[in-house]
Amino acid sequence: MRSRRSAFSWLVEKEARELVASRSWWVMLVAMGPLVGVSFIGAVRTYAEASGLNGTAAGVGEAFSPLVGVWAPTFSACEVAAAFLLPFVAIRLVSGDRQSGALKIELQHPMPPVARVGAKALVLLAAWMLAMAAPLLAIVLWRAYGGSLYPPELVTVEGGHVLNAGLAVSLAAATASLTEHPSTAAILTLSVTVGTWILNFIAAVQGGIWDRIAGYTPTAMVAEFQHGLVRLDVVLIALVLVGAGLAIAAVWMRLGVAVRRRASESIGVGAIAAAAIVACTFVTPSWDWSENRMNSFPRPDEEALKQIAGPLRIEAHLAPEDPRRADLERRALSKLRRALPRVQVQYVSATSIGLFEQTSAHYGEIWYELNGKRAMTRATTADSVLETIYDLAGVAAPPETDEIFRGHPLAVPPKGAAAVFYGIWPALGVAAAVFARRRTL
């Protein structure tokens, strides 16, 4: 009597068994403990020292936000794992079939190639969720120390890292499917990762369109999630990239299709993905899930900005590497773009560092233009930017509120964390590996 299970469920089981049988997966799982541990212990210690030095929780501001002080550094271990460990697990799962000859056998099932890649992606996603138990353990420890938790920002950070893992998996699956050998796939994957870092560097130096493109690299995406910011355009673009990577993997998995046709199909996938990405850049909704609203102006200011109808043009004479430009972006413009979608920002500079432009009379000027009226300041703080805009718009500045984030200082050392992450986690990982590999027999 044949089983009634679907072929897809058989394939998912097979991928899960292959994952459990692969050493790379267990190495990643075991390594997650020390990786998270070193970040968490360092972050909690610094947080505790800073809390103890100040002695009071009043008015300490975002320095004592667990999101920035603890969770961003702790979860950065996931970013390292997604860049340097997860791709190898994914490559092993995709290339292993080709190396062993299993692919030639499995390909003879008339299953759509997308389903084959989907089964692998599902299993890899589940594997990543298991690996993310390490930072979740850090959350449990933090709570045990008496630390404050704000679930929306934690979910945002975790979501960002799941999305980042999706990008890593789809890239690795595409390269593993495209190439004959896992080593070539690994080199290609790491090249793309390094390429995105180079892109970030170019953006920092050149600014302009590079800056815009670099805003969608995995590093930039994760950084926003780590600050509790969810931008719909970033999420959609990441999903498009994940889909495109898996589609290319599916295209190249079909060994029985001529290479020329597979190449043209890949170009088609790339073109559709590029068009979708361009369309997504026009999507503006975003949500600030951080407890201290670090990505937003105070609510009264946001309400006041809503009264401004006309498009606001800002021309900042600041070079890409000028720290004032970074200040202006971080403190004011990134928040302004969220509150006032019809804002156009243009940077003007003759050089990348701006050092030799300081003598120029106009360097450092920030011009604002609204409804035909213009104003100029050199200040880069959020208050001065808002004040200039209110003056131009003829809108009364809202009264200051006492809506100040007081922070959650915690002067407690990371007791027991070293034992958990450097001892218990790796030991449990090794024991689970031995047990699981025996059970598959």
């Binding site: 072929a7 049988a21 056998i105 299953m111 598959t440």
Partner: protein, 242 residues
């Protein structure tokens, strides 16, 4: 009856298969004979659709088969592979039965073996009982070959393409498995076997395709080929034709 017509495959300037045409009869054991590099594996891979052919067609009763129809008709067992090396033989057989059986059962393409063609019978026929809890990657070449044959026979495809099915088997195993394969053929399964040992081919096959340099240089039953070449044995006929 299936008709393979003008099958062509080139690797750059090298022609691996040149205008290969032949027919496959139901429930026969067809032997593919040729020296190393003659295109036997390429022919099987093109038929099974795991390698793109540059030209040619496979038709059934005058109707050109689509790639999907071909993948339902053929199942190819590659030579020299160790699929799912970390998994046990027991699991691999269950997987092949469930994975391939789930899709095609409904299409009623399945052809049963000498008994009921289930896992238990194939384990007995191919003497796999002692290997069931061994990992596939740890098996010898001959043991792997027996497992692969069982996997192939668990699939519902009516035509099994087996690349070097006797390679790695000892004399006793070759005879037992050859006899079992004949049993499967008499139950309705068509077996297309690539064999480099001509004596094995002569013993187990009903008809032969002789391949040399990517071209069919002879085909037919033993009597037809030896008669045409005025030789006594298949080996002599093969030498005369290549």
């Amino acid at each position: 009856m299936l008709q393979v017509s003008h099958l062509t495959k080139r690797y750059g300037h090298v022609t691996a298969l040149g205008d290969v045409s032949f027919s496959i009869q139901p429930a026969e054991v067809l032997g593919l004979i040729g020296p190393n590099g003659s295109g036997k594996t390429t022919l099987f891979e093109c038929l099974a659709g795991v390698l793109p052919a540059d030209g040619g067609a496979v038709s059934r009763d005058g109707h050109v088969m689509s790639p999907a129809e071909r993948s339902r008709a053929f199942f190819y067992l590659p030579d020299g592979v160790a699929p799912w090396p970390q998994q046990t033989v027991r699991w691999a057989l269950a997987f092949a039965d469930g994975f391939f059986g789930a899709a095609v059962d409904a299409a009623a393409h399945r052809v049963e073996g000498p008994d009921d063609g289930g896992i238990g019978d194939l384990v007995r026929v191919f003497d796999l009982e002692p290997l069931l809890d061994s990992r596939i990657g740890e098996l010898s070449k001959g043991q792997r070959k027996r497992v692969l044959l069982a996997i192939g026979l668990l699939t519902p495809a009516p035509i099994l393409l087996a690349d070097e099915p006797f390679d790695g088997l000892d004399l006793k195993q070759t005879r037992e498995i050859g006899s079992a394969l004949r049993g499967f053929a008499s139950s309705g399964r068509t077996l297309f076997l690539s064999i480099h040992q001509i004596s094995d081919a002569a013993r187990w096959c009903d008809r032969f395709i002789l391949l040399s340099g990517g071209r069919v240089c002879g085909h037919g039953s033993l009597g037809e080929i030896t008669g045409r070449t005025q030789t006594d044995t298949l080996e002599d006929a093969f030498l005369a034709l290549t």
